[in-house]
Structure formats: structure tokens, C-alpha cells
């Protein structure tokens, strides 16, 4: 309607050429918004899909294969070797020879292990983006620039135009719509009296806004085993790759979020969300108090009318090739745990948030200018702590299940190694093992 009024005004006061321009602008805006509404926002409200994204995905895959093929051909023509992602060399025999006593050659064992870890180690590569086998037409993931032919460059240029000129503005619009609606509607719902109506509306509003955000990222998500979806009074744990994980899970089910209160826009969103349904937000000072945190979490799960809690026990973002140590806090509470495995397909856009490289805004822009975010979500059957199992063992069991389902490497290392140093206790364990080998035989010798 506003578009039409504007057009009439324009027609009255501006000269013919400007008239034409304004008419065109007006028409394109109207078409734009209608398309947006019909194809994206309305389906988001009702949770249906036209299948456009699936088609988009298939087309893109074909183009990527072609692109990689061209690069390989180009490299072969020039007789160059391509940079290929590292696939590990054979695991050679690592055992210390079980010699009965110390030999000077024992040093070889530690020496080789050490140099092997310098050449490549299991941990540091988890904190940087995964390397791809084929090129997905994004500059950020290409290592073989010099082999690009003209045709490929043109295609890449076209890709840039599409991504930054068409997809990015579309997605940013959707993102603002989604977030704006979330804030406004949850604040409104906050005025209703507590009860079933309020809960129902709150759930619908949250779902709708998250679905709009999912489309804002062109996220193509496949959910598996939805019969295992988390229920009230439980805790949902998942592996963590990026802040988008929250949007992906919350668009398919309703959760109570846990986190620290931030300032700025994030804080505004958090404060309005908690008006509609009980999320668990902590002040910065409260986060350090583990007792307090545990108490609030267990109070929440005991109340069966409240939504299941969503927690990421790794504590930091990992690059989606492995699952790192789970912090035991959420596993001490004693309620049913619903594990969820999230695996992103890196061919369409790397979802990993390297917080030391990019800030949040930069990261979101990168996400919105990728082709798409494609991922699979598996809901695993619920698990509870067994007799005689402590929190750490339970956490490791859940972690192993998630790693197995998602095809990720199960690591014992702590995600905190992204920023901090490894504990000395690990070195002491290695020393203890070696000593046992030496001393054990000393005792035998004295006996014989």
C-alpha cells in the first residue's frame, strides 16, 4: 500500500524519466516483498516447505564438481601438483619395545612421537576450518588459485554477484524480520497471564521466528529420528560448532536456553525471550559459581511443565570434525539426557566459528554470503546415568554416542586447549607409564 502511495506522489512531482525509474523501483519492491512473503515467511509460520532449497542444493553440487574437475585439468595441463588436504599417513608401530631395562634407544620412542605431533597433531587442527576436497567457488576455501581457467573465473564472478548482490540482502532482510518479530511478539506474550495459552503461544512464536532465521541463512536441515526429540524435564546435549546450532535445534523443537546475559542487541533479545517462557540466563558474576549454576539447572528440570534445557557441554566451538571433552557439570544433575549430533556439510559453507579470527558480526556476514548451510541432525535415544558410573564416565559415554552417530572423531582432549595450556597431569601420566615399565622389571630382578 505504501508503495502505491509513494508511486502516485512520485508521478505528480517528478519528471518523466524519474517517473519511469520510480515506477520500476516501486514494482520491483512490491514483487520482492510479495515473493518474500509467499515463499519464505508464510511457510515459516506454518512450518512447510516448497522444496526450493533442495533443488538449489542439488544444482550447486553439480557446479562444484564441474569446478573441481576444471581445476584438476588445469593443473595437469601445467604439470603441477595440486595442494590436497592431508589424509593421515599409516599409523606405524608406536609401542616401546618391552625391553626389560633402560636402554639408550628408549629415547627414540618419545622423540618420534614428539616429531610426529609437530608434523600433524589431533588437536590444533580442530580449531581451524576443515579443508575441502573439492572447491565450492568461495575464495576463502581455495588453495589452488593459479589453476583457474577463464571459464571458471567467470563462474566464480557470477557466484560473487549472486551471493553478495542477491542472496546477502535477501538474507539480511529476513534476519532482521525474524529477530524483530521475536523481540516484539515475545514481549507482547509476556503480558499474558501464566497458563497453557501463554505456553502454547510462546512455543509457536519461538518456532516461527527461528524458522525465519533458518531461511535467513538458507539452512537446509535434515532431521533424523524425530521420535527421540527431547521432552520436558530433560537436558538436551549437542556438539558445538557455531552459534547457529541454537537456531537449527530450536526451529524444530522448543527448548529453554542457558547462557550468560550479554549487553547490546543480544541482551535485548535475551530479556524479551525470557518474558514469554522461562530461559536460564546468568549474570556474568554468577557463571563462576558452579553450585548456583547446578542448583538453577536442577530446579528447572524438576519442574515438568518447563521446557527441556539445551546445553553444549564442549564449552567452545569446535570445527565439526571431532567431538572434544564434555564438561561434567550438566551430567551431574541426574535427569535424562537427550543427546543430539549435528554434522554440517562443509561443501556449501563452513559453519565453524573461529572466534579468535572473526567477531560475531563478521561471522554472520560470512555465513549469509555462503551458498547455504547444509546439515544433518540426529536425535539419539535418551540416556541416563547408570549405577556405579560417575559424571565423567557418563559424559564420555554420551560423547562417544554423539561422535559415532555424526561420524566425528571422539577426542579426550579439552576444547579449552583452543586458548589455554594443557594440564601437567597428562605429562605426569606418561612419565608414570614409562617408570612402571622400568621399575617393574627392577623388582623382578631383585627377586630372582
Amino acid at each position: 500500500l505504501e508503495g502505491n502511495d509513494g508511486m502516485e506522489l512520485a508521478l505528480k512531482y517528478f519528471n518523466p524519466f524519474d517517473n519511469l525509474l520510480c515506477i520500476l523501483l516501486g514494482i520491483s519492491f512490491t514483487v520482492w516483498f510479495t515473493l518474500l512473503l509467499v515463499f519464505i515467511i508464510v511457510p515459516a509460520i506454518f512450518g512447510v516447505s516448497f522444496g526450493i532449497r533442495q533443488l538449489y542444493m542439488k544444482t550447486l553440487l553439480k557446479i562444484f564438481e564441474w569446478a573441481t574437475h576444471r581445476i584438476e585439468r588445469g593443473a595437469k595441463d601445467n604439470n603441477h601438483l595440486l595442494y590436497k588436504p592431508y589424509s593421515n599417513g599409516d599409523g606405524s608401530n608406536r609401542d616401546l619395545d618391552h625391553a626389560s631395562e633402560f636402554e639408550m634407544s628408549d629415547i627414540f620412542y618419545f622423540c618420534r612421537q614428539g616429531v610426529e605431533s609437530i608434523m600433524d597433531d589431533e588437536v590444533t587442527k580442530r580449531f581451524s576450518a576443515e579443508e575441502l576436497e573439492s572447491w565450492n567457488l568461495l575464495t576463502r576455501s581455495n588453495y589452488n588459485f593459479q589453476h583457474i581457467s577463464l571459464r571458471l573465473t567467470v563462474l566464480w564472478g557470477l557466484g560473487v554477484v549472486i551471493r553478495y548482490g542477491f542472496l546477502l540482502p535477501l538474507r539480511v532482510t529476513l534476519a532482521f524480520t525474524g529477530v524483530g518479530l521475536l523481540v516484539v511478539l515475545t514481549s507482547i506474550i509476556g503480558f499474558l497471564p501464566n497458563g497453557r495459552m501463554k505456553n502454547f503461544l510462546s512455543e509457536q512464536v519461538h518456532l516461527m521466528c527461528y524458522r525465519i532465521c533458518v531461511r535467513a541463512l538458507t539452512a537446509i536441515i535434515t532431521y533424523h529420528d524425530s521420535e527421540n526429540k527431547p521432552k520436558n524435564g530433560g537436558i538436551c546435549v549437542a556438539n558445538h560448532t557455531s552459534p547457529i546450532d541454537v537456531i537449527i535445534l530450536a526451529s524444530d523443537g522448543c527448548y529453554a536456553m542457558v547462557g550468560q546475559i550479554h549487553g547490546g542487541l543480544m541482551g535485548v533479545i535475551q530479556k524479551s525471550m525470557v518474558k514469554a517462557c522461562p530461559h536460564i540466563w546468568f549474570e556474568r558474576s554468577e557463571v563462576k559459581d558452579r553450585h548456583l549454576v547446578a542448583k538453577r539447572l536442577s530446579d528447572h528440570v524438576e519442574d515438568k511443565t518447563k521446557l527441556p534445557i539445551l546445553i553444549f557441554p564442549e564449552g567452545t566451538c569446535i570445527n565439526n570434525t571431532s567431538v572434544m571433552m564434555f564438561k561434567k557439570g550438566s551430567f551431574e544433575i541426574g535427569s535424562t539426557v537427550y543427546p543430539v549430533a549435528i554434522k554440517y556439510d562443509p561443501r556449501f559453507g563452513d559453519a565453524f566459528w573461529n572466534s579468535s579470527q572473526f567477531g560475531m558480526v563478521n561471522y554472520l556476514l560470512r555465513m549469509m554470503s555462503s551458498w547455504a548451510i547444509v546439515c544433518s541432525v540426529w536425535y539419539l535415544p535418551p540416556m541416563t546415568r547408570e549405577e556405579g558410573e560417575d559424571a565423567v564416565q557418563f559424559a564420555n559415554r554420551v560423547k562417544a554416542a554423539i561422535a559415532r552417530q555424526g561420524g566425528l572423531v571422539d577426542l579426550l582432549w579439552d576444547g579449552g586447549l583452543k586458548r589455554g595450556k594443557v594440564k601437567d597431569t597428562f605429562k605426569e601420566e606418561q612419565q608414570k607409564l614409562y617408570s612402571k615399565m622400568l621399575v617393574g622389571t627392577q623388582e623382578d630382578r631383585s627377586r630372582s
Partner: protein, 195 residues
């Protein structure tokens, strides 16, 4: 930033490193990418802290000695050439290399050079001798607090007794080679990497 790896290393440099170390083209580009990912300061050299950041190396009882092997006497930074030169010691010995031109200088991954690398791990003060004290210190690094001083001392004494031939109560490089002549050094000090 992996996307710049292959463009920053020039072809001539790769050829030079190939001649000096014997690594293949793809191995060198791969290791260069590794080098840059370890180089957090992005100044083209690695410091001791950059190595310490590798958790599996930090928990290795001899981690500090291994890191030290990369840095020439008195220096705190190692560039890519130095990095590759040290890693070259661990390249497996290929059969076709055994019959090479005897006039050419000894390759970095020869049996003798591998043994020299290990010898230098023991030889803390770089005086080309492993004294009883140095041996004790390295043993202490390997066992931590789990073995008493007396036991460790007797292990050190026995080792020196068996190896020492000229009676100076320390182990020279030649004596070291003699002790290890039956050990398959080629296999134990080689790492198969991206062939």
C-alpha cells in the same frame, strides 16, 4: 590462513628445500601449511611458545628437548628452512638413496645423522659428550617423580659402564653409535608422511 599457503612459497625455494632435505613437492607444501598454522605471530618464524601450543608435544616428557633441537645455538626463532632441515632427519631412508653418489654430502636422514639427532637430545650442554649428570637429567625427565634418586643413579651408572670404552666416565658419539649398532634406527627414527 591456508588459502595463502602455496602462493607465499616460491617455486625456487621449494626446489632448494627439495635438494637439501629430500622431501617431495607435496610434502613441502603440506609442511609449509603446517608451519604457517603454527606461526601465530605471522612473522615467518616459530618461537618455542609456538611449539608448546601443540598439546601432544606439551605432554611429551622430552617435549622441551625436542623443541630445543629445532633452534640453533643461542637463537629463539626458527624459520621454515630450519624447520624443514630438522624434520628431514625423520624422513624414511629409501632404497634408491642407498646407492647414491658417495661424493655428495651425506643426506640429513642418514643413519648417522638420525643417531646424531638422538645423541644431541641427551647432550644437554652440547659438548659432544653425555656425562653421568646429563644422563641423569634426561632420565629424570622421562620418569618424572616415580623413581628414586638411588635407583635412577644405578640405572645411569650401569648404562655408562656398558657404553664407555675409553674410561672417561661419559659417552662420546662414537661410543653411542657402538651401543646402538644392533638397533633398527632407520625404522624407529622415521616417520612415513604423505608419500
Amino acid at each position: 590462513m591456508g588459502s595463502r599457503a602455496s602462493t607465499l612459497l616460491r617455486e625456487e625455494e621449494i626446489e632448494e628445500i627439495k635438494k637439501e632435505t629430500g622431501f617431495s613437492h607435496s610434502q613441502i607444501t603440506r609442511l609449509y601449511s603446517r608451519f604457517t598454522s603454527l606461526d601465530k605471530g605471522e612473522n615467518g618464524t616459530l618461537s618455542r611458545e609456538d611449539f608448546q601450543r601443540i598439546p601432544e608435544l606439551a605432554i611429551n616428557p622430552l617435549g622441551d628437548r625436542i623443541i630445543n633441537a629445532f633452534f640453533p645455538e643461542g637463537e629463539d626463532q626458527v624459520n621454515f628452512r630450519g624447520f624443514m632441515r630438522t624434520l628431514a632427519h625423520f624422513r624414511p631412508i629409501e632404497d634408491n638413496e642407498k646407492n647414491k653418489d658417495p661424493i655428495a654430502s651425506e643426506p640429513l636422514n642418514s643413519r648417522s645423522n638420525k643417531l646424531l639427532f638422538a645423541f644431541r637430545l641427551y647432550d644437554l650442554d652440547r659438548d659432544d659428550k653425555i656425562s653421568r649428570d646429563e644422563l641423569l637429567q634426561v632420565l629424570r625427565m622421562m620418569v618424572g617423580v616415580n623413581i628414586s634418586d638411588e635407583q635412577l643413579g644405578s640405572i645411569a651408572d650401569r648404562t655408562i659402564q656398558e657404553a664407555d670404552q675409553n674410561g672417561d666416565n661419559s659417552i662420546s658419539f662414537n661410543e653411542f653409535i657402538k651401543v646402538l649398532e644392533k638397533v633398527d634406527v632407520e625404522q624407529k627414527m622415521s616417520i612415513r608422511f604423505l608419500h
